[in-house]
Structure formats: structure tokens, C-alpha cells
Amino acid sequence: MNFLIAGILGLGFGFSLNKAGLTKYHRIANQFRFKDMMVMKFIMTALAVAMIGLYALRGLGLITFPTAPATYVVGNLIGGLIFGVGMSLVGY
């Protein structure tokens, strides 16, 4: 049952990524050149919607937050720096 949910949510995830054009190299490369702000608009909209929804549901007492990713400043930054090189080169 849990795996069925995983599959369906994965479908929605992949579908939204494809429709936002994040599966195309030029979209991501042009985001880093600031010629095309689609990626940023997409990520920020998703963030805002998820943020409002999750905090509202927690406020209503319907959910508790799952374990959040840990913060370790140097590791997060270095990981991000390596990730950015790959993302800018490959564009996936």
C-alpha cells in the first residue's frame, strides 16, 4: 500500500518536472545564465505551496513533520558547490 502511494506520487513528481521543462538541458543552463527564470519560478512556487500546506496541516494537528534533512553548514555548502557544477554541465 505504501509502495503504491510511492509510485503514484512519483508519477506526479515526474509529470510536473517534465511539464515545467526541467528535463531539458537549455532550461537549466539558461537558469544559470539568467536568460530563463522558469526553473526558479517552478522551485519557488512548489516551495511556497508545500510550505503553506505543511504548516497549515501541522497547525490543524493532522500531521507531524517527518525527520528533516540535517543541517551541517560546511557539508551542505560544499555539497551544494559540487552539485552546482554537475547540474550546470549536464542540465538534469
Binding site: 518536472l17 528535463t23 534533512p69 540535517a70 559540487i82 542540465g91
Partner: protein, 181 residues
């Protein structure tokens, strides 16, 4: 109804509509399965499983035993869903390139920058993906698992990661495009 169907057939949606869809998916993941979405972690658990089958000693580390437990996890099934979801998205807009000649290398801008050879796309894709996965492993997540899921819980790590990602991404784009930046 016809309007919605026509919209689904469009190749590129408004980023706001697609973003709202992804936001709802993130909320549903927490509501129904009590987990955060993610993509990079699934590759690590799969790699751990393959590694354990080949050399149990080398992969019997703390990382593959406790931080990223090897095996078919929720994330792996979700990743399979992502693959088919992407295909579904392409199929609805009739841009699915399965089995076509330029399927692996169809991006005009990529060809202009790096050359038209398909092997270059494969090699660069492989090397870049190693960087992606390695960086995501160090940071504790990728764009989806850390930036979007973590960011929606207002985790500081997400915003540190985004800063690092954009800093090096912009520098890489500057090097690749030079005067055409």
C-alpha cells in the same frame, strides 16, 4: 473540461501551475506516507544494495548500514514513478523520443555549445551525474529532497545548499559559455 485536456497536451506549462502540482505532491507525501520526496537518496540505496552483493566488506560501512540503508526503499519505488511520470508528461505532449534517432542528444543548445556528437553527451552526462550524486551525498539531498522538501520545512540546510548550487552553477556556466554568457 476541454480546456483542461488541452492544457495537459501542452508541452510546457506555466511554471506556476507545474509548481503548484509539485507542491501538492510534496504535501501528499507527508500526509499519506509520512516521508519527504527525494531523488538522489534512491540511487544511493540501490548502489548500496549492488555493492553489498558484490563486496559485503567494502560496503559494510556506517554510511550504507545506517545513514542510507541499502535495499528497495520507498524512495526507489518513487523514483521508478518519477521515470514513468516524466515519460507520461512527454507522451501527453507528443514529445516522447523513445527509440528515435536523436533521443539521447536532442537539445539544440547543447549541440551548439559542446558539439553534435552523441558520445560527448553520454560521457559528459555520466561524469556530471557522478558530480551531482556525490555532491548530493555530501549535502544530504538534492534539489528535490533537500531544496524543495527540506525548504518547505524551513530547514537552513536547504538554503545553504541553494546558495552553493547557484554559486558554482553560475561559475560553471561562465566557464562554459565565456563571452556568450
Amino acid at each position: 473540461m476541454k480546456f483542461i485536456l488541452n492544457y495537459i497536451r501542452k508541452d510546457t506549462w506555466s511554471p506556476y501551475i507545474a509548481g503548484i502540482l509539485l507542491g501538492i505532491v510534496v504535501i501528499l507525501a507527508v500526509l499519506l506516507a509520512k516521508t519527504l520526496l527525494g531523488a538522489s537518496g534512491a540511487f544511493e540505496t540501490l548502489a548500496g544494495m549492488i555493492g553489498k552483493a558484490i563486496s559485503p566488506k567494502a560496503f559494510g560501512t556506517v554510511y550504507f548500514d545506517f545513514i542510507m540503508p541499502a535495499g528497495i526503499t520507498w524512495g526507489v519505488i518513487q523514483l521508478v514513478g518519477v521515470f514513468f511520470g516524466g515519460m507520461l508528461g512527454a507522451a501527453t505532449s507528443k514529445t516522447l523520443k523513445w527509440g528515435k534517432k536523436d533521443a539521447a542528444n536532442s537539445d539544440a543548445q547543447w549541440k551548439r555549445v559542446f558539439g553534435p556528437q552523441t558520445w560527448k553527451r553520454w560521457v559528459l552526462g555520466f561524469l556530471g551525474a557522478i558530480l551531482l550524486e556525490y555532491g548530493a551525498g555530501i549535502a544530504g539531498g538534492c534539489t528535490s529532497g533537500l531544496l524543495i522538501s527540506g525548504g518547505s520545512l524551513l530547514v537552513p540546510a536547504a538554503f545553504l545548499f541553494m546558495g552553493g548550487m547557484f554559486a558554482s552553477g553560475i561559475i560553471t556556466a561562465l566557464i562554459v559559455y565565456r563571452k556568450n554568457y
